[in-house]
Subunit: 344 residues, 2 copies
DNA sequence: CTGAAAGCGCTAACAC
DNA sequence: GTGTTAGCGCTTTCAG
């Protein structure tokens, strides 16, 4: 025996207001063609009755879910959770629900994107964070009424927000160069991980460009890669310091990797900023505690901007698609310092 | 003109399989009363047709959303995002969608809980993380078919997972005492913030108990509070060090607060673990980088356990309600060291 | 074990 | 400006 119905339905509101359900529906959604006085009365009565439309029914009838989904590789890393926070705030504000989905591996992610029926009718839009989607996937999803916005990557036809990764790599490397370093290593995210392909590639390009520009020959042995976390950074730094001629400075592609590098340095009784300089990217909350020099990006903004762009697309399917270039800035703290003295 | 329909519906599957929609529905949901051969055929055909039930329609018809909502004060802090990660993994695995909701202030949160129609029909269950809910709110929500599970707090009648906060405070303080410290300060979360009332209170109780047990008189001037983040910890530590007779050791209620304390110490050119000892709670990812001694809790497990408990309640509404007591363990690193020498 | 049919609660034509 | 009504696509009695 099902529990007795007690939920107020649109029909109850209509009865109480002495109008039809259609009018209630229109009034409550601020649609035109409702007399202002009627609208007011309906809104008031709905509030009194504590009525709100059943989302499932509304979705079924209208074909829209008022739900957006944020897709990230991992839910708990600082970068991703900060993006999510930014996006969620905007969604809630706009009356959208915010679904999160952590796709561990690239395979799983790509599978979801290919098997588009996974998202169809479940969400109005996806915010893909550092997840590469092809234009075909986007197009196909769009045909199924799922719009896309991306953070960190770009997909033709979809709004995106990202930083200039090449410039970021350049900025970091140049800072090191200006301090007099010449043996500058790169601790890179795994570019063999398709999930995170472009970001490392671009940042590396910036690194190489800055080096070349300064007349320093990039050395393959100084470029090591690992996962984007603390472990990855630590292992990479260990490998670097085991070199015959170790670097005097290191550019880590994320602050978390830089943290790992810092840890390895301290385990070797080396002082960051004196013995070896380290610079990261992000400006993680904890970076100031570690006094890490870094290239700051405005991560929460990435999330909120992407959400706004996506909602814009949903409101007006033909709204212009913009690629936002979010600014970065060098934040100099104590883990970078002058390079070794010239001896000529 | 609406876009041409193209989505496969249950009816298409039924036609292709030569059975009725009812049978398809049953077969696909593993309900009894379907011949195994029929079930197989239906499943196969559904897969071929790339069919999956429209969630909105299923929800409307079945009255269940297969959605759980994780409610946290802030989405981006390490603790909360780690809980979310744990919960989301379990939900996805079980075929549930995972909504997230960040409620900034206690007022907003309480308002949502009171105005229960907010969640009705939108989600099958709520995982409240460090959010106090009354038994009445839980009961009322339950009547509206929204179940609750909590992390960090307890609500009668709802499954919960939390650590023994009193013991945690005790453990941390005892470690400091055993190192020979006597002037031990407490950096506490704001217990005037109703959002996070019980956790600080219990940890403080453990701190006081350990002190008393050891024959040390708790001093109000050594207990300062601030927000649970880095800032809060730093400000608190600054206040502490400005005291005429500053503490030789500090118990911070979270690792992030401890980070702030560490930062303040280093800005004063004081060495953690030598000049002043610092211990935190959490075992944040970055804690090992800062070599922070801490009381580790298994945060991701909290999220996954809560999710499992909640799903259990949804499967069987009369399943026993369990309060999980998640273990904690002391992790000794370098920010704690021997107290000052006795001079008698 | 299977099918027919009655809704679930709302939105969106269309008529007035 | 408002009402009527036909679905939205599924689940679930209830017969058989």
């Amino acid at each position: 025996m099902p529990p007795p119905r007690q939920r107020t339905r649109i029909e109850d509101v209509a009865a109480a207001a002495g109008v039809s359900v259609a009018t209630v529906s229109r009034a409550l959604r601020n649609l035109p063609n409702v007399a202002e006085t009627t609208r007011h009365r309906v809104i008031e009565i709905a509030a009194e009755l504590n009525y709100r439309a059943d989302p499932a029914a509304a979705r079924l009838a209208a074909g829209t879910t008022r739900t957006i989904t944020v897709v990230v590789p991992h839910l708990s890393s600082w970068y991703f959770s900060t993006v999510i926070a930014g996006a969620e705030a905007v969604c809630s504000e706009a009356g959208y629900e915010c679904l999160v989905l952590g796709v561990g591996t690239f395979e799983k992610c790509n599978q979801l994107l290919e098997e588009q029926s996974h998202f169809e009718r479940r969400t109005d839009g996806l915010i893909l964070v550092n997840i590469p989607a092809t234009a075909e996937q986007a197009e196909s999803l769009r045909a199924r009424r799922v719009r896309l916005a991306t953070v960190g990557t770009r997909t033709p036809g979809c709004p995106s927000v990202s930083i200039d990764d090449m410039n970021t790599g350049c900025l970091a490397t140049t800072h090191l160069l200006e301090l007099g370093h010449r043996r500058i290593a790169l601790i890179s995210g795994q570019s063999d991980d398709p999930m995170n392909f472009d970001v490392p590639k671009q940042r590396r390009a910036g690194y190489v460009a800055a080096l070349t520009e300064a007349g320093v020959e990039p050395e393959v042995s100084l470029m090591v890669s690992g996962n984007f976390g603390i472990d990855g950074g630590q292992e990479a730094m260990a490998a670097l310091m085991a070199l015959d001629d170790p670097p005097t400075a290191v550019f880590a592609m994320s602050d978390e990797m830089a943290f790992g590098a810092l840890l390895e340095l301290s385990e070797r009784n080396l002082r960051a900023g004196a013995d070896v300089s380290v610079i990261g990217v992000d400006d993680h909350d904890v970076s100031r505690v570690l006094r890490l020099t870094t290239v700051r990006q405005h991560v929460a903004d990435h999330g909120s901007s992407a959400a706004r762009a996506l909602l814009g697309q949903l409101q007006d399917p033909d709204a212009p698609v913009t690629d936002l270039d979010s600014p970065v800035e060098l934040v100099i703290r104590s883990t970078t310092g002058p390079g070794p003295h010239e001896m000529n």
